[in-house]
Symmetry: C3
Subunit: 242 residues, 3 copies
């Protein structure tokens, strides 16, 4: 399976052109849209989101990940093998948390180049072909990346900010719920919320946080929208209180 | 074929994770997004929409339907067989109109449980696997639902409200056009509109209602947006005048 | 491969129903969403967008194209063969630029009719079945279109307007970059912008135009949104200065 993690949106021409490459080069391999609305141009927050969602997928999955504000600049083009899953995309920190949390992981610089590489759409011209090659079982076309250019050792293990707001207005933090004290409360935008098991444990309109289905601490309002009701958006700081 | 009917949105991680389950458990079965923007958290209005769109699909289609504000609460998890199509999802009334309009229909409580069931994402952990099992031809994993917990006998046969606003601003009612008198006019938000055959029968900017391509009475404006121009949104009441 | 080019949106029921037809009638043929947000009800601007994106696809691709404000009126239903690619949709000018730029091209009127043709959704009932027939290798069901009813000879070869705003706020013009003088500047909404190779060649917040990955002149702002920052939307005029 190939899973897409991008900030491209589904509507425009970008996701479709990448899928056209994947269907041609790796026919029969299912392609799944995981996120098309990762934090736009924001590899750091995207990295915490990706690391929370990727391990749920089966071993062998290839993640084609494009959050690439530096396309056309000097950032390396990489793929990462981590716990028997593959990640293809820009080496701008996007895979930092996947690597850090993996039992074993290696980064490679992509050594393959297409006949024609556009300046602005490496997702289509470079990364999608490499993802297809790996998914169909070719020898991954790379050499070990020596200088850790894709790593970001200064980023925290968990990130006390909102990293994603979903379709329902629920606000995901970059904090793994399992790393928080059992009775921890979260404070954001001047509001303190307590932990609940899930939505139906709270009264309508009540705000709370809970461990979402991929392990992140997420702030929500039962039958409401946490983003609008509490003033949360990607980048809002979160504080932890016990 | 498996058709998705949810309020999850296409962008977020929810639809993608469900599709990952379906591709793994029912490989080769086409998966089609019917609605990803069913009325959010609103099984009643969603039920009229689903009942209008499902019969168009061929026999044997499995509908994976998640509009589930009560996830984690006591509502039953069900599947319904109705006129040789299958419906999998929460037993919160979502299948009431499909059942009521079917020649033959039965409800079953899902008896299968996954190894790990998250509190908030039964679509991925419970309903998608069951949809995949049915689509690949397994014995459907359920027992007859005895207490009619999924039925809503008090809901009307046709619903005089806006139940969906589409990408163009057209406002679908929960009324089947075939149940309305031939010369019926519809009134909503203080405006009365007459029936037309289709858009091109009316002048630009003119409001009308027509039988849409799945049989619902839909209010539209030629070359305009009925939602903005007439003040219509999901939940707006509609009155029928002759 | 079948590529979809529509103004239907991905969320609603329209794209999904067309895909259901395609999967049933041409099983195993990959279906890719190219644009679901082509300029709404606007065949002219859509025509310049389609002509820029279609040639990137491999020969043999079938484009199912629905931007059809006149559905239900007298516009012909057509398919076009142009440079060994196929285009199916309304003959309202949507294929004018594809035809004009092709080495060889012919238009055909669709001679096939479904058992039941809705007044408002020819995409599902007429065009998708014909696209499926062509994609699976049937004899294309048409007769030569004699009267040039689908042509628009008065439209310019390149169109000095914004024809699409993407997910990032970048504003595509209907101008091919290769047709502009090397040092050309573009002026729109009272702002003059110079050419750059790509985003990373400009300072953050700076506006410029560049040749996008499909050859169109596109106005963008590094780390910003050209639509909001410069006041650009579909239909904004663009002037060329040297």
């Amino acid at each position: 399976m190939i899973a897409l993690f991008t900030d491209f949106g589904l509507n425009g021409p970008y996701t479709g052109q990448m899928k056209a490459v994947l269907h041609q080069m790796a026919p029969g391999v299912p392609v799944v849209d995981l996120f098309a609305d990762a934090p736009a141009g924001d590899p750091k927050r995207s990295a915490y989101l990706l690391a929370a969602y990727a391990p749920w997928f089966p071993e062998g999955t290839v993640f084609l990940c494009i959050v690439d504000p530096g396309v056309g600049s000097a950032r390396p083009a990489v793929f990462v093998e981590a716990d028997r899953r593959w990640y293809v995309g820009p080496g701008n920190g996007l895979f930092e948390l996947v690597r850090r949390r993996a039992g074993s992981a290696s980064s490679f610089e992509i050594s393959w180049r297409p006949e024609r590489l556009s300046a602005s759409f490496h997702g289509r011209d470079l990364f999608a072909p490499v993802a297809a090659m790996i998914a169909r079982g070719d020898e991954p076309p790379g050499r070990p990346l020596g200088d850790d250019a894709d790593r970001r050792p200064d980023w925290p293990d968990d990130f006390a900010e909102i990293v994603y707001v979903d379709h329902f207005g629920n606000a995901m933090t970059g904090l793994r719920a399992s790393m928080l004290p059992p009775g921890a409360r979260l404070s954001a935008s001047g509001r303190m919320v307590e932990r609940a098991r899930t939505f139906s444990d709270r009264a309508k309109g009540e705000a709370f946080w809970y461990e979402n289905s991929n392990g992140l601490a997420e702030i929500a309002v039962n039958s409401g929208r946490a983003d609008g009701d509490l003033g949360l958006s990607v980048g809002t700081s979160v504080a932890i209180a016990s």
